[in-house]
Symmetry: C2
Subunit: 340 residues, 2 copies
DNA sequence: GCACGTCCAACAATCGATTGCAACAACTTT
DNA sequence: AAAGTTGTTGCAATCGATTGTTGGACGTGC
């Protein structure tokens, strides 16, 4: 478009700029950092020169020297289910809120989707020297690895269930209570033959199932059956359809392990002419934005994802500052909509 | 748990390890890189020592020296709509596929959600010195800024519409054709009073609207009306509901700017007792995974997100290698489901 | 015994910044 | 005029790696 040359000669480092300005590199560095230590005139002269040549100091070098990277690692461990895709809506929802909170505070985000093959995967991330802190979304089946690292690495916060005697700092809802709430909701709707739909290798999902069992036991019902599914969205659909074909009308209340699973279940039931909630009640878990947009709207257990994300970031910053924050457990909450 | 001390003394850099091993830092560096230049015995001795102390070389320093970061920036410019949230399902879907492709190739991902306030936002990202390349998801209203940078910065690929005479490398569907397909689908269903639902500041959405107009003109229909909405999910719902209340039955065919908008429209129509597709036909755009899971399933225009993401990554790698790849335009495809 | 090649490790420069300290000029104070 | 301040700038060390070059030890061939 414009053929005015705004870039007379590309400058690669402060040394070249220093030569051009006839000063030392130290002065250039201070000038660009706008330090009062250098004369206002030379300062502005150097800044103008930098602008004219489109020069910006190399962040890699700066951060190496400063020993502060202003980068937070957001890590999604996919231990239990390698095929699970990063685009899982739950990951994405929480990632979005984390990104908002972190960028507001001037931090960059390094995103890692890790399949824990080597057992030192977390150590490798944590002392790469590129991160000021780490946020883990879900502990998957990697409790041991996380605990091991938490012994000596402070600035790390994990989304997930809180265990007894854990060293690491976690933020999450009480999944067992959440599962119980879902169960109570189904039971209140008059359902008696309950099932849990979801893979229970990850501790979060397992706790939800146990909560459902608690509710059933309290109401004197038989123990809910457990129907495993893949976590990858594409495989999940087939699993769910197969389960529903198999169990037929043996089940009248389904507590799904996540909203995504619940959506697919409602979909599969609808395909078979089974009406939700008339014939079968279904509850989700997570309260993703899309739970409100399905038809019928999902009754689900809220994880308060925005609040949780904020809490993770706050705790992480305190830990970067040297504090030793406790784990946070948020209250699960039943969101009653149309499916149960 | 275990009280065996696996970490006798924390080692911070290769110099300390070198002292411990009684060799020079150069030897340690080469030993850890497993170079044949150092004697096999000392090499293994040093590697064992590093393992025992849990030492891993600082990546920041390494990358500074190597002048290669193995980090790709994935940038989401939010120029037109600051409130738009990162958790927008379209962003997340494509981000997921990009993440898969990049991690497979050994690259890390630096995620930036940018609100282009300063006009050199892209320059700042691009020569931070921390990135080997940049992927932009959507060009928002930042065409000028992107072109300016593309003049001198090669390793950058942009998701979005292809303009005439653009310098930068883009990958995306032909949005105008896509819009036309949507229009033709509505018209084929006998709809005559068409509307486009979505914000048309971003060029992608604008092209979709123009395509819809093309179809209407070809069929001799009146020009479709344009109904603006916010792009932020929470504000969008209100806008859409208001539009639908206002236009009433003046419209019998809605081409939505995205699947998300279409979902909300279907939802709002259902709330008012208007049946889709019986009373009103609706088409989406993107073909997100969730388009298949709504009830009724969305009829939509496929963007082939997985293929597009792969194409972006492939093009980027070629550009990092020095090649000068052309833009890629993919064919839009109508996916006929239940809503139109 | 001397020249030569091979193997291995040390030395030192380099990547591109930041920053404590010293140096020096120009004023003030006494 | 000597001593002390104040304001600017330069020098050089530092962050933690990588890598080209140098050189010593050793073995071999004549």
């Amino acid at each position: 478009m414009s053929d005015s040359p705004p870039v007379p000669a590309r400058i690669r480092n402060i040394a070249e700029l220093a030569r051009l300005a006839g000063v030392s590199t130290g002065t250039v560095s201070r000038a660009l950092a706008d330090k009062a230590l250098v004369n206002k005139e030379t300062r502005e002269r150097i800044q103008a020169l930098a602008r004219a040549h489109g020069f910006r100091p190399n962040q890699m070098a700066r951060r190496l020297r400063i020993q502060e990277t202003k980068v937070i690692g957001v890590v999604i461990p996919l231990g239990h289910e390698q095929r699970q895709h990063l685009s899982d809506p739950f990951f994405m929802a929480i990632l979005g809120h984390l990104a908002d909170a972190l960028t507001e505070s001037g931090y960059d985000i390094m995103l890692s989707r890790v399949i824990p093959d080597a057992d030192d995967w977390l150590e490798r991330i944590v002392d790469s020297g590129m991160l000021d802190g780490v946020l883990l979304i879900g502990q998957s089946n990697q409790f041991e690895a996380i605990e091991r690292v938490a012994q000596w690495y402070r600035p790390m916060v994990v989304w997930g269930t809180q265990h007894l005697d854990q060293t690491h700092c976690s933020v999450g809802v009480n999944n067992r209570t959440g599962g119980r709430l879902a169960g109570e909701c189904l039971i209140a709707a008059g359902r008696k033959r309950l099932a849990f739909l979801g893979e229970t290798i990850a501790p979060e999902l397992k706790d939800r199932y146990l909560g459902l069992c608690d509710a059933a036991a309290a109401a004197g019902l038989a123990q809910p059956i457990k129907l495993d599914t893949h976590l990858a969205a594409d495989l999940m659909a087939g699993d769910i359809a197969a389960h529903i074909d198999r169990i037929g009308s043996d089940v009248d209340g389904i507590a799904a392990g996540s909203d995504l699973i619940a959506m697919q279940a409602v979909r599969a039931l609808a395909d078979r002419g089974i009406n939700v909630p008339h014939d079968v009640s279904v509850t989700g878990f997570d309260d993703l934005p899309l739970a409100e947009q399905t038809i019928p709207r999902l009754t689900t257990i809220s994880q308060n994802i925005p609040g949780g994300a904020r809490a993770m970031v706050t705790a992480l910053f305190e830990r970067i500052g040297g504090a030793d924050t406790p784990s946070i457990e948020m209250a699960a909450q039943l969101i009653r909509r149309d499916t149960a």
